[in-house]
């Protein structure tokens, strides 16, 4: 008897059939990981502990706010992450590696800006671009081009540009500035990686793919694998962002707004800490009216490219050693690009 299904328990306001999660094992398995009993224990604890936990949480508005922000970040990101995972699994399963060799310019230095420009094609949250970039690399696209795409897609797609136009109705140059700054930063990072990056730094977790697997099976395998990796790290990013969101006091922002250099760095840091979706950050930037336009441009340039949520996703998809180098590089380039374009255009 396989006994993998836990009997469904009523309660916690829904009757979901408690499924298994974690490593699936063939018939006659021994519990190598013991995931199933853990899940069962968690569900039982949730069932009986719910009144206590809910009671402990209520009446503490800081914790409630934190919980709401955390859940909302995850809930908002998940549809886009799923979309990205599905698209990337399609890429891995159905697009041959030779496609990229033919479609992009032969010289890598030109492939980077072309890939960055392709970012306008992928509307949506930054969460979708990470798994897609991962599978692009897996499918044979040179990493610098894939990273340029990874950075530009969340920042220059039509939805984001449209929301920027709406949020800054009397500063149309802001839209142009955002577009230019983001493309510039994406290309520079791509070129820097082209020149200095090492392939061995990228550690894509290996897929369990065999020659004889059908395309559908490859799709399923890639999707499941990417989702598990990316999803877990998304939660890490969401937790961090929610903590920072609740902890950053507004009086601190008011205090730094007037100082020239600090204000730029403060907003850049805020963009990283708050992990706001790239479609919404224009409105948040518009509301930060005590800051200069250039500081806010830096905020808009940095946010979609690097923040705690993205860092976690990148670490999950490409490996921690990669992410810990890529993130600071992106941050510095994005700030510099924002400053440059802001000084030039605004």
């Amino acid at each position: 008897m396989r006994g993998e299904e836990v009997s469904s328990k009523p309660g916690a306001e829904d009757e979901r059939a408690a499924p298994t999660e974690g490593p699936t094992q063939g018939p006659g398995r021994s519990a190598t990981f013991g995931g199933l009993p853990v899940l069962g224990a968690v569900l039982v604890a949730a069932l009986f502990g719910q009144p206590f936990v809910a009671g402990w949480f209520s009446g503490k508005p800081a914790i409630e706010t934190f919980a709401t922000v955390f859940v909302s970040i995850c809930v908002q990101a998940l549809p886009f992450l799923v979309l990205g995972v599905v698209l990337s699994a399609c890429l891995t399963a159905f697009v041959p590696a030779s496609f990229f060799a033919r479609a992009l310019p032969g010289r890598p230095a030109w492939a980077v800006p072309v890939a960055a420009s392709c970012g306008v094609l992928l509307p949506g949250c930054e969460c979708a671009s990470v798994p897609i970039a991962g599978s692009l690399v897996r499918s044979g696209l040179i990493p610098p081009a894939a990273f340029a795409f990874l950075l530009s897609a969340p920042a220059v797609n039509p939805i984001v540009l449209a929301s920027t136009a709406v949020a800054f109705p009397n500063q149309p140059l802001m839209v142009v500035a955002r577009l230019v700054a983001s493309l510039l930063a994406a290309c520079v990072v791509g070129w820097v990686w082209l020149r200095f990056g090492r392939r061995d730094l990228i550690r894509l977790p290996q897929l369990d793919v065999h020659e004889r697997m059908s395309r559908r099976a490859v799709f399923r395998e890639a999707a499941q694998h990417d989702l598990m990796h990316a999803g877990g790290f998304l939660v890490v990013g969401g937790l961090t962002a929610a903590v920072l969101n609740v902890l950053v006091p507004s009086w601190w922002l008011d205090a730094v707004a007037g100082l020239p250099v600090i204000s730029v760095l403060a907003l850049a840091g805020l963009a990283v800490a708050m992990a706001i979706c790239s479609e919404a950050d224009a409105f948040v930037a518009a509301s930060l009216s005590q800051f200069s336009l250039t500081s806010r441009l830096v905020f808009l340039a940095v946010g979609p490219m690097i923040d705690v949520k993205l860092f976690a996703l990148q670490a999950g998809t490409f490996g921690r050693s990669f992410a810990s180098r890529f993130a600071p590089l992106t941050f510095v380039v994005a700030v510099a690009s924002g400053l440059l374009v802001g000084w030039w255009l605004l």
């Binding site: 974690g22 190598t32 809910a54 508005p61 409105f283």
Partner: protein, 226 residues
């Protein structure tokens, strides 16, 4: 994974997702939930149909197991169903400093007919601060919001404005004059009219609202404004 998918799907169907993200995300949420659910079930089925100890050996040697970090996905589901975090309220509003964005319209359209006329808090605030309340003068308005006590016995009528998800909310508030405060975070529908004195043409102005009547209501289906 099946757990997450089911939770997502249920969330979108039940409609409580509006506590966390904008309503436009309902359909994608449902699709994503169904997709994840389907993928989870498909994986279960596919793995269970791989028969034979030979295959089993091979898979164990590949250490094909979900990464431990993936267990973290349980956390939001846990938070959602065990804790059931509420929509953001006065605490979040107080975290935000007062900032009314200038929409820079050339002309402010007059309010629709009606006495009192239903108006959103965002609309009221913008008109009061950036238009000197011209279009609000001599009109009775009806606004829905929640109570944020000020600590000195007075209170603000507040509403949170969201674009994408609860992490990017900004607060809008008007100071309520002439009515006693309800407990914090109580949702109310107030009828009143604008009175000058809250400051104008400044991003940090808080307009004044003279209250005629206060009615306690349930939290609206969409607690946030956009």
């Amino acid at each position: 994974m099946v757990l997450v998918g089911a939770a997502l799907a249920r969330l979108s169907v039940s409609g409580s997702y509006t506590n966390y993200v904008k309503p436009g995300l309902g359909i994608p949420l449902l699709c994503a939930g169904v997709a994840v659910l389907g993928l989870g079930l498909w994986t279960l089925v596919a793995d269970s149909t791989r028969a034979g100890p030979g295959q089993d050996q091979e898979r164990h040697s590949h250490s094909h197991s979900a990464p431990r970090v993936a267990w973290l996905l349980c956390l939001p589901v846990f938070a959602l169903y065990v804790v059931a975090p509420p929509a953001l309220g006065s605490y979040a509003a107080n975290l935000d400093s007062v900032s009314v964005t200038d929409p820079d319209w050339d002309a402010y359209p007059p309010l629709p007919r009606g006495d009192p006329v239903d108006i959103t808090l965002v609309d009221f605030t913008i008109r009061a601060v950036w238009d000197n309340g011209d279009t609000l003068a001599h009109r009775r308005v009806r606004i829905i919001g929640f109570v944020t006590p000020r600590g000195d016995g007075t209170w603000d009528l507040t509403r949170l404005q969201m674009t994408c998800c609860a992490a990017d909310v900004r607060s809008n508030r008007v100071q309520a004059v002439g009515a006693d405060p309800e407990p914090a975070d109580t949702w109310v529908r107030v009828i009143g009219h604008w009175i000058p004195g809250g400051g104008t043409k400044r991003g940090d102005a808080v307009p004044l609202l003279e209250i005629e009547s206060v009615e306690v209501i349930d939290q609206p289906r969409q607690p946030y404004e956009f």
